[in-house]
């Protein structure tokens, strides 16, 4: 009975959730690209269109310069070593470790790779089991610390909503059950049940990726350039807004 459910969860349900994630993230990227394209189309003098602050030194119309500064900005924050000590250093370090652990572990776990190999016939080198265990424990520890940080830090607590805690809890469940499933001998719970929870929680996280703040996995690079880009407004739009709201005779 339990194994039937497990078969369903990691068979058809997994495929559905994974496809939902891929399509959902693709949709977000396409919507943003359309947004950028519309913003571009509305600007009159396209010579001045740039992807970086206009004030920065260098020729702003030089496409190479543009992509270089843009990429530099993204890379700087993809590996934000320079910024750790400027603000909340302990939290920042834990947060970086957390990200590395939860990205590397599931992708390079031997058992996952075997599943991919069996399912679609593609495999890649994986982590040794011990290292994967260590990374999983690190992920669990960092989740606990981040959870406590949200609860105890005066500012973070005010900003945090239910969703922020629930997402952390979800990731904790995924990694916790994953660890237990990898070591059935240690597990106090039935293997199949552990596995079922692991797979269902994982599937849920795929569904939530495009719907929640986890969408930052694809939106992150756009954010870096957005504020310089979208403030380049189409000429005449201020009149349109004012006329729509206050009629043709709109006054300051």
């Amino acid at each position: 009975m339990l194994t039937d459910w497990l078969g369903f969860a990691r068979g058809p349900l997994f495929i559905m959730c994974f496809l939902f994630m891929l399509l959902g993230l693709l949709r977000l990227v396409v919507l943003e690209l359309i947004g950028f394209k519309n913003a571009y189309a509305k600007i009159e003098d396209k010579d001045f269109l740039i992807f970086s602050p206009p004030e920065q030194t260098g020729d702003i119309r030089d496409k190479k310069f543009i992509s270089k500064t843009w990429l530099a900005g993204i890379m700087e924050w993809l590996i934000p070593v320079r910024h750790i000590y400027k603000s909340k250093p302990f939290f920042s370090i834990v947060s970086i470790i957390f990200h590395i652990a939860i990205i590397v572990t599931p992708i390079f776990l031997m058992q996952h790779i075997l599943l991919w190999k069996r399912g679609v016939g593609v495999g890649w080198p994986g982590l040794p089991g011990h290292l994967a265990d260590v990374l999983t424990v690190v992920a669990l520890a960092s989740i606990i610390i981040l959870f406590l940080y949200r609860l105890t830090d005066k500012d973070a607590r005010v900003l945090s909503g239910t969703g922020d805690y629930l997402l952390l809890a979800l990731i904790f469940v995924i990694f916790g059950t994953g660890l237990l499933a990898a070591h059935p001998a240690m597990s106090p719970v039935n293997y199949s049940l552990t596995m079922l929870i692991h797979v269902l929680a994982g599937n849920l996280s795929f569904v939530l990726l495009p719907l929640s703040k986890l969408a930052h996995v694809v939106l992150f690079p756009f954010n870096r350039v957005s504020s310089d880009f979208f403030w380049r407004l189409p000429p005449g739009m201020g009149d349109k807004v004012a006329h729509e709201l206050h009629g043709e005779e709109a006054k300051v």
């Binding site: 947004g35 992150f220 300051v252």
Partner: protein, 462 residues
């Protein structure tokens, strides 16, 4: 934890929400403002590029609280409502609720009601507590520009009539009034002032330095912050002296139809921002000038630099700041400053609008170091500087004086005290007014001065 913080934290959740008690809205708050606000928001989203931006921001705020240590206002108050991310959340929540499917769904499921007048009041109070210094952007791992989100909120609020009176009256005079400038200076008074300044310059320097008015076909059309004509005459004399000493005495002009670089639209309305920029470009074209030269003013420089290419039509004139110009002239050897005249120590305040993006950071320092031996840096400085506390238009709102002195400008006051120099150089009309008041309020020993005021004393004429 102190009782004060506990109190302020408690007020977030339970909260009799405060309405405007520190600045004044012309004609009072509009009735039914929640509905009006949503309609205005919809119109703004329909005609601007902001929708994909807000979509992206509302999906990716991590709520990590790393911006808290960057915000001078939050550092001074410790109030969670002053966290940049919290402020952005106010408007992003409204956006999600009314303009996204997910938000609509969540509202139904959770049984949340519509936004109320109180929500609009909280938003309106919150957005005018931000000095738009953009310092939080430096530490946001998601790259969310909270100053721009605040700007959008202010724009929507302005469309339903919620604008501090001081900003609105000044902009109305500039766009619709007879004088076409924010300080309502008539052309006659301008000419009188310039004549008087020319006499002063003759006395100080012994040279016949002129302010050319309405001269066509020159390279530089000059737009200072118009308040300089009333408050910072020495800066203007410095500007004129630099033009004279570098051989550009006949190569620049002040236009009588529009001589104001101030653009409050940058702070609260894209509509006015566009129209003011268009007027500046129009005046430059009328005088057949080649280039827009902005005086010592941070936000005038930034708004022109950033938006003349956007709203200026085909082949918009280039924009340069007077400090860029002075440094160019120094490097070409046309401008020399005597290093033996000023023996006092000085520090330099970076105006956020020109320094945050790294545009004008090194130029003034090179100029200062060439003639002032005892130069002390504040920390942090340059692109990471602290705001003077009067940014985002708040310096013009007299009702906010206490806020600017005790909250917004607290960090800057500490910095100036720690630097302990004779002079504080601030090349921005906005910062000058604020820092002058800060020095008086906190009883600091430094003297506030503009960069061109100092240069005027040290210029070597051929």
């Amino acid at each position: 934890m102190s009782t004060a913080t506990e109190k302020s934290e408690g007020s977030v959740a339970t909260a009799p929400k405060k309405t405007f008690d520190f600045y004044y809205i012309e004609g009072g708050l509009p009735r039914g403002r929640a509905v009006k606000f949503i309609n205005a928001f919809a119109a703004v989203l329909r005609h601007t590029n902001y929708k994909p931006l807000l979509d992206m921001y509302s999906r990716s705020t991590a709520k990590c609280a790393r911006c808290t240590v960057m915000c001078p206002v939050h550092e001074a108050t410790g109030d969670p409502r002053d966290i940049p991310c919290y402020r952005s959340q106010l408007i992003l929540d409204i956006y999600k609720k009314y303009f996204t499917v997910g938000g609509w769904f969540k509202t139904r499921v959770m049984g949340e009601g519509h936004i109320t007048n109180d929500d609009i009041d909280e938003l309106a109070e919150s957005v005018y507590r931000c000095t738009a210094c953009k310092r939080c952007l430096l530490q946001c791992p998601m790259g969310i520009d909270h100053a721009l989100v605040t700007h959008i909120a202010r724009y929507v609020l302005s469309e339903i009539g919620i604008v501090p009176k001081a900003l609105r009256v000044a902009t109305r005079e500039q766009l619709e009034g007879p004088s076409a400038n924010t300080s309502a200076i008539p052309v006659v008074a301008l000419r009188d002032t310039l004549e008087f300044l020319e006499e002063e310059l003759l006395e100080i320097t012994g040279h016949e330095i002129k302010f050319p008015v309405d001269k066509e076909g020159v390279d530089f059309v000059f737009f200072p912050a118009v308040s300089d004509y009333l408050l910072e005459a020495e800066t203007l004399m410095g500007n004129a002296a630099v033009m004279y000493a570098t051989g550009n005495a006949d190569n620049w002009t002040i236009g009588t139809q529009n001589f104001d670089g101030i653009n409050y639209g940058l702070f609260y309305s894209d509509w006015h921002l566009e129209n003011i920029i268009k007027n500046v470009v129009k005046e430059t074209r009328r005088l057949k000038g080649k280039c827009i030269l902005i005086g010592e003013c941070g936000h005038a420089s930034r708004s022109a630099k950033q938006f003349v290419p956007v709203f200026g039509g085909k082949n918009p004139p280039p924009v340069i700041n007077c400090m860029e110009f002075a440094l160019d002239m120094m490097e070409e050897g046309k401008l020399k400053l005597n290093p033996d005249i000023i023996d006092k120590s000085a520090t330099y305040h970076d105006p956020c609008n020109i320094a945050r993006s790294g545009w004008i950071v090194e130029q003034p320092r090179k100029i200062i170091k060439s003639f002032i031996k005892d130069f002390v840096e504040m920390t942090p400085n340059g692109a990471e500087n602290y705001c003077c506390g009067g940014g985002g238009g708040t310096v013009s709102i007299d009702e906010m004086h206490k806020f600017r002195m005790e909250i917004g400008g607290l960090k800057k006051a500490e910095q100036i005290r720690n630097a302990g120099t004779d002079y504080v150089i601030a090349p921005c009309a906005n910062c000058k007014k604020q820092l002058g008041e800060i020095i008086e309020y906190h009883k600091l020993d430094s003297k506030l001065i503009g960069l061109h005021d100092l240069m005027l004393k040290a210029i070597e004429f051929k």
